[in-house]
Structures are given as C-alpha cells and as structure tokens.
Symmetry: C2
Subunit: 349 residues, 2 copies
DNA sequence: AGCGCCGGTGGGAGCGCTCTCACTCCGTGT
DNA sequence: ACACGGAGTGAGAGCGCTCCCACCGGCGCT
C-alpha cells in the first residue's frame, strides 16, 4: 500500500450562501414572495416572478433544505432498504436491476435515494431510529422475509412504504411483485412439454414468499401433468450460486434419474450447471435446466439458460410510482400490483 | 397486471414527536443540558445526565435532524456518485462490492449513504444543485473518467471527497485505487511464463485511467519479455460482456494466431470466452485467458478464470475512512492510496 | 359613488435545535 | 476570612425557511 500526501483543498470555500432574505433584497420584494416563486405558487405577478428569478440566478441561490425540512417536515429522500447479507447484493443481478429502475423513476422527481443495507440487529435498530426520526419521506423495501417486522414498524409509524415482493398473500402494505407461481408453472410446463418426466426443483429460501410461490407453481404444474410429486425431487437453495451447486449435488445423489431441474434463480442455475458438469451430465441432453429472473448471466452461460423473465426494472419503477402516490396522499388505500412473468426459451431446456 | 385495493394505513400516526423542550421539562433541566447529554458533552453532572436519559427513554425522544442540520450545517449523509450507464451497474460486480465495503464501514458511524446514479446531463445538473446546496457532508465518487468535471466541482465547493480510482497520475483529490498497471503486468508475465508468445489484450474504455493503466502494464510486461507490441493484438472494449465478445471476435479476425488474451475485466473475459467457443478455440489449450477483478463470476466460468484480484471491498471501506477524516478536518492534506493487486490463478491460463 | 372581492404582497411567528455567554455554586489557595 | 477559578447550568439568540394573516389596491357590481 502506497500513500502520498498532497496539499489540501486550499480552502476554496466560497462566501456564505445567500438566503431568501438576500434574494428578496436583491429583487426588491419580500421573503414571502421569494418563497412563493421558489415553490411555484401561482399567486405571484409576472413582474415579481421575473425579478426573483433574476436575483436567484445572479446570487446563485440554492434553498437550504434543512430549513425547509424543519418547517415542512418533508425530507425529499426515500430509503431503499435491503435486508440482506452482503453475499446476495454482490451477486444477484436482481438488486442492481431494481435499483436501476428505482433510480430511473426517481430521476424525474426531486427525491433522492438513500441506500440502507440491514444485515444484523445493530443495523436494524439504527434503521428503526432513523425511520422514527422521520428522516425519509417513504421507504422501499425489497427482499422481505415472511417473519420480517420492518413492514409492521413502517405501518405503525404511518410511513409511506412499498414492498418489492410481499410477505404473504394477505400482505397489508402496498407491494409490487411478480407472478412467481405463474412463472414457475410456465417453466415446468415447458419442461414437461419437452418430454421430461422427472422434473426436480431447487428452491429459494422458503422464508421468502417468492420462493414459496415458485415451489407452489412447480407443484401445480407437476400435478397438472399428472406427475407425482416426490420429496427427492425438491432441494433447497438460498438463491446463491454455491447454494445451487450444493442443492444440485444433493438431487443428483438422491435421484440420479432426474431429467430436468427448475431453479428458482438464475444464479442457482449457474451452480447447478457446475454440479451437472462435474457429474458428467450434459445440458440439455441429459438434464434440461430452467432458471428464474432472466438476468444478464442467463445469456452468457454455456449453454444459454432458459429462464423465467420477471420485469425487475419495471418493478423498481412501479414501486417508486406507488410510493410517490402514497407520499402525496398519506391515507390512501394500499395498492398491490402483480406483474406477469414470461418464459424466455434458450438452449438449456 | 393485477391490482388490488386494500384499506389504507388507518392513520396510525402517533401524537406529535417530543422535542428537547419536552425532555427538559420532564427531566427538570434546561434545553441546554438536554442538548449536552444528547451530544455527549462531558460538562454534565451524572445526576442531570441520568435524569435526561430517563426522560428520553420515557418519551421516546428522537432528535429532529432537520433542526440540528439547520444549526450545525451537517447532514450526516454522504453521497456515492456513480457516473455510469445503467448497463454497467447491472452487470459489474465491482459496484456491488464497493457498495458493500462502503456500507460496511459506514455502519459503525451514524452516517447514511445516498446513492446517486448520474447518467445524463440532467442528472448531472441535478446533482450539482444538490451538492451546491450542501445536502451531503461528503462525496464518494467511483468510476470517474479522465475528462469528468465532477471532481473539479467538488474541489471548488470545498466539499470533502474521495475518488475510487483517479483521473490521472496527478489527481488532485484524495483517492483510493488499485495498482492496475502492476496487476496487468503480473497477468501478462504469467501468460508469458506459460510459454505464450502472442498475447493479445482487450482494454476497457481508455477514458478511464484504470483502463489505460492496465493497457500500459500489458505493454510493459510485453517489452520486458522482449515481445514486440502489435496493434493487431490490442482491441478495445467497454468493460461489458458484449464489448468483450466483440473485441475478441475482432482480435480473432485480425490475428488468428494469438495464443493468449488479457482482458481488462472479468466480464469482458466472459464475452471473450463466448467468442472463443464460437470460433472453436479451446481455453486454455488454444488460447489462455486472464481477467481482471477476480469477481464472483471468475469462479463459475468454464473453465474457471485466472484473474487479477483487486481488493474492491477494502477499497470501498478505505474510501469511507479517508472521507471521514476529510469531513472531520476539512482543510487536511489530500491522501492518495494505492492498493496492491494479486493474481489468482485458475484453469483458464 | 360605494361596496365587496380578489389577485398580489409584506412581515410576524415559529419549526427544533445548538451555541454562546452569563451566571451560580462549590472547593481551593492565601 | 476572602477572592479566585472551574464545573455545571439556564436562557437568549439565532439558523433559513414556510405559513398564515393582515393588508393594499383596482376591478366590477349594485
């Protein structure tokens, strides 16, 4: 490690920032009028408005948000809360996509995005204090588990909030989520349609509703096709590559005759690929594989991965829209949106 | 798309939040003393401190940050600015790792992280206003390009800032970056050491210093080995998988006899793998491949990718440390840290 | 001519906090 | 016994903004 020292910033700090008062003096109007112009009130004459705008430009005036917040009690910040171990953020393209969508949608507002990773009790408590202090106008919460108490806290605080996913079918908060069961059904139907009869699945962590729904969809499609469910065809993963690998090894050991596997995430499918390769099974010749997410990696595996596409980015965008509505109209009814999924067929199945 | 409406939040909003005044009354002391206790001033008697702490707990008092900000002009927020097209955030594990490190290090402070994606002029202007309004205490800036003006703005505003990477060797701001040239040299030496004599490279976008440094390292190692540089051995990518693929195709067309390729990012290496596979070349038999980043994907490619490891997460952490120092002591000298890189050898080279 | 009205404006009040300063009450030194 | 200092405390003064209300003038109406 090399360190170099260079001269400091040389104190380029410019003179004190102008305030409304300064602008008012410059424009020859009162503070009230300046405030009205800044906040786009219609009750200002064209003359006054112009004078103020002029003064603002000349002085380089920028409102002090802290002062504004103090009186309006709005912060113009929304939090994205990710209750996840670092391992996932790192590898799951899901988060990056959601963030992209969120950030995109936020760009047209003047809200900023606070990113909060909650990985342990300490951080959770810190977040609780933060929310209690109402330092954000609203919260986006992704990747919630069924027993997560954060949503309850949000509800109790009367804090506008939108979930990405839901805790259960009777979720009380607003949420946006994908039709997980439907996607899983489509995946398994596809597999069955290609003549596979021993279709296994690698699930996500069942504490997440999405994972449970994907498993349910898998079972439904199996039943539909008249195939008997078997415990040995179900292995549990945790949405990671390593988890997928381990689960695939397990499946191979317990049910060597399987000819297809539906993975509840692309990343787990990548792990499954690796296990299959090591076991000398060919994809899709010996075993057909379908993933879930249709993330970037699905395109670059060998062979390319057939996967259930969920509109992750659109979900992020929609979450923001719902949240904005809820912020604008605090008491409004919760809204719950389910977005369709779609099977993208590639070479792996 | 399905929509369901449920009853609203039922206005669970609790009574008005208590203020210092309330706490003071409850504890039988003055506002000043409460403030001192809250902010951990030593000039408070044990008796008073206890009374205040009691009152705080009873009332569930949480300081109003806006009011505090207004007087201290600190915000307890730092921004992470990512001037990148969405495409990269999505796929590059680099960002996720940096964010993890940053978030980790921030967890032990009471600072929050604002995530700001700057993808076009509009967003850039929005950020400028935001920074000018001093709505953050400091800025972390990653993935800067050489001609980026954001760092200049930061400097001009006297805003504490730390770059991840640098614009050039005589960067004026504080930064943390990896020894890119050294890593590239190590990669190419390794290739040459394995008897490869026609070593190509796929560069990153040369507007980024890191990409330039990796190319420079490649050239140095080649010279060291007495191998002549050839233009046909250099193709330009953009750090994406697709870019890597295109660059590899180009290399294959112009220099079919190449026997190794050093890719300036793992993701581009994945693209190169694909191109090589399609061209019927074996890795590492026909062509040895080395990547850069040693990200998660390096472990799960087929064959696993030899890659230059840069301590991305540690870089994120270190960036925060430098920034905290700079916030604590505004005029302090800039610090510039170069972290070593290391070659992780796997099957691809 | 007089009334009300309404678009437009100015200024006081106050959001909740920290900071500074003056003050009190001790113990200590002479 | 006295002044002296230091530790602890209370209260006033703002930070920069929005909100509210009182106000001003000119218009159309009776």
């Amino acid at each position: 490690m090399t360190r170099t020292d260079r001269p400091g910033p040389g104190d380029a700090r410019s003179a004190a920032r102008p305030t409304v008062e300064d602008v008012a003096a410059r424009a020859g109007v009162s503070r009230g009028t300046v405030s009205r112009v800044i906040n786009g009130s219609p009750k200002v004459s064209a003359r006054a408005r112009e004078a103020v705008e002029h003064a603002v430009a000349e002085l380089g005036y920028v409102p002090n948000q802290a002062a504004r917040s103090l009186v309006t009690s709005r912060t113009d910040v929304v939090a994205l809360v990710v209750p996840e171990s670092l391992a996932r953020l790192r590898s799951e393209p899901y988060f990056a996509d959601v963030i992209t969508g969120i950030s995109d949608e936020l760009a047209s507002t003047d809200l900023q995005l606070l990113l909060t990773l909650v990985r342990n009790e300490d951080e959770r408590e810190r977040l609780t204090r933060y929310l209690t202090a109402r330092r954000v106008d609203g919260v986006l919460l992704v990747s919630v588990r069924q027993d997560d108490l954060l949503p309850d806290l949000l509800e109790q605080l009367g804090m506008p909030a939108v979930l990405g996913g839901r805790r259960s079918e009777r979720e009380s908060l607003s949420y946006v989520h994908a039709d997980n069961a439907g996607g899983a059904r489509a995946a398994v139907r596809h597999l069955v349609g290609r003549g596979r009869t021993r279709v296994a699945t690698i699930t996500g962590p069942l504490a997440m509703e999405a994972a449970g729904a994907r498993l349910a969809g898998y079972r439904e499609a199996l039943a539909e096709a008249g195939l008997a469910p078997e415990d040995a065809l179900v292995a549990h993963g945790d949405f990671t590559e390593a988890g997928g690998y381990a689960a695939m090894c397990e499946l191979l050991a317990e049910m060597p005759t399987l000819d297809a596997v539906f993975c509840a995430s692309d990343l787990m499918a990548v792990g499954a690929f690796r296990a299959l390769r090591e076991a000398g099974r060919r994809v899709p010749g010996d075993v057909a594989v379908v993933g879930f997410d249709d993330s970037v990696i699905a395109r670059s595996t060998e062979p390319p991965l057939t996967s259930v596409r969920q509109p992750t980015e659109a979900m992020g965008r929609l979450m923001v829209q719902l949240l904005l509505d809820e912020i604008a109209e605090p008491g409004r009814p919760r809204r719950q949106v389910i977005l369709p999924t779609e099977l993208t067929v590639r070479a792996s199945a």
